[in-house]
Amino acid sequence: MKKLTIFFAAVFGAALLLYYVSLALNRTEGYVGKNTLTVYNWGDYIDPALIKKFEKQTGIKVIYQTFDSNEAMMAKIAQGGATFDVAVPSEYAISKMKEDGLLIPLDHSKLPNLKYINPRFLNLSFDPGNRYSVPYFWGTVGIVYNPGMLGGKKITSWNDLWDPDLRNQILLVDGAREVIGMGLNSLHYSLNDTNKEHLKEAKEKLDRLVPNVKAIVGDEIKMLLANEEAAIGVVWSGDAAEIIAENDKLDYVVPKEGSNLWFDNMVIPKTAKNIEGAHKFINFMLDPKNAAQNAEYVGYSTPNKKALDYMPKEITEDKRFYPDFDSIGNLEVYKNLGKRMLAYYNELFLQFKMHRK
């Protein structure tokens, strides 16, 4: 009994000591008071050297925190409590956060570098006039494939995936809108289609894809494809870039029927305390040189037109990640379909998953 008491006392003591040490560390690094900026972003989605540079330029300490899904991020911001000055949600999350009043409007006079953004990526349906958001990175949904494992066969369209030769070769990303969207696109319907007949048709078409589908997985899809566990994967272009960096035998294609165009965007959530600093940070990231450095580090496509001039040609001329918009039929941004429709998409997706037995 005495031993047990000593043991618990020791654990308690150690916890207190660690708490004190972390507090003291934060203080010596100046993480207390007004001069901090909390950035809430996806993991490994910024060049750390840029954070150092920003701190040096402005004297503001940056606290970098990460999330791994829009839903988790929104839940944390909706709860309040924690301070987040800048966040980087995807476009459909922005519509939702706007609806729920979780965003603070941007002051464009404090963001002079906004002019460097390609106008194509401004004023989009999810945020007209960019009142709340500024694009950070963008990309597509497409097909990563391994020509070696397919005997040199080329994939160019969604409909190629229904080829009976591809039995048990396809990995799908575990996302209702991506998978149902693939079915819709293969039938030349819009990704934002809300016609239930069209959606049912898409689901029936997807059911015929089942023999070719090896698995429906999450983030592991990157590792599985790089390890050649399957020849084909339906993924976001950013993941594709990572996969190809790991295994250069793989190739990426945006299917010719059309696909999804997605954006991650910088916003100031309502939890912000340092709104002035948040504008400074957003403007800093919009600076062409910084944007170029960041895009090279992260490997995603930057919406910053001027930044392309500072990047190596082999990146900016790679049609897979900087496609010619005229050559691809229709790239659509996801619209916020409303809760009921989204639930219906998910219901169909669940049925598709169940059908696989």
Partner: protein, 265 residues
């Protein structure tokens, strides 16, 4: 006087149970009566009795039964053998050791082992069977689940066997029972409580497994846990998610009732 002091001691426990057990269950039941737009409805329950969810419920129960059965099949003889060894606490420690490693890490390790170029296929190729698809099959799902749940089955059975008075076994043998009869008529009935506890500890959590279904079974196995996760995180349809959770709670209560102690009856 005495009872009031005892009640004071009970207070932290009651508060704990109230906040972390009773309140959440009531909240789940409460939420299950609301639709996605926050209107009061019974439609979630109607929805549950459609073929999709019934099929999902049936497959959850089926896989949970499989996992429980194989865990028991492996854990009982293992526990029995353990009680006969010299350094049983040490051997027990080795069998329990995997629970010290994070669950996600263990599951990820199996992704590597069962992969097309993984250890399992290398062995199959070496013995001349040739590579097979192991990952994303029912087999891999049940295998990994059993691997993860074995310690939870093993411990209660081991404890029950330890408590068994050895003179009872000796008596049975002295009276002429064969080893098999002794096991069937004496050892097994006396350790049945351990088996029941183990089955509960395995069956109940495996009903709502969701991470392994995606990582190891590639969503080929869909359990109610998968649906709950999707409704809460993606669709944000808390009502439907809660409704499924209500049925899981009912199923678990039924399991506890069936496997519970009948001595008092």
């Amino acid at each position: 006087m005495k009872t009031s002091i005892r009640n004071v001691y009970l207070l932290p426990y009651v508060v704990w149970i109230g906040i972390f057990v009773v309140a959440p269950i009531l909240l789940i039941v409460y939420y299950s009566f609301f639709d996605i737009e926050g209107k009061w409805t019974l439609s979630n329950y109607k929805m549950f009795f459609t073929p999709i969810y019934l099929k999902m419920a049936a497959s959850s129960v089926w896989y949970a039964l499989l996992v429980t059965f194989f865990s028991l099949l492996i854990a009982y003889p293992a526990a029995y053998a353990l009680t006969k060894t010299k350094h049983k606490q040490l051997w027990l420690l080795f069998l329990i050791l995997p629970t010290w490693v994070n669950l996600l890490l263990k599951v990820y390790a199996f992704l590597g082992i069962f992969g097309t170029y993984g250890l399992a296929n290398a062995i199959l190729a070496a013995v001349g069977i040739g590579p097979k698809q192991i990952l994303f099959t029912d087999f891999s799902f049940v295998f990994v689940s059993v691997y993860i749940f074995i310690p939870f089955m093993l411990l209660p059975i081991f404890n029950a066997l330890e408590e068994l008075n050895p003179s009872l076994v000796d008596a049975a043998r002295d009276l002429g029972a064969s080893a098999w009869t002794t096991f069937r008529r004496v050892v097994f009935p006396l350790t049945l409580d351990g088996v029941k506890a183990g089955c509960q500890a395995v069956f109940i959590p495996s009903l709502s497994l969701f991470m392994i279904t995606r990582l190891i079974a590639g969503n080929r196995v869909i359990t109610l846990g998968t649906a709950i996760e999707e409704h809460f995180l993606v669709t944000q349809n808390w009502g439907m998610g809660s409704t499924i959770a209500v049925f899981l709670i009912i199923a678990m209560a039924a399991v506890v009732a069936v496997t519970g102690n009948r001595k008092r009856g």
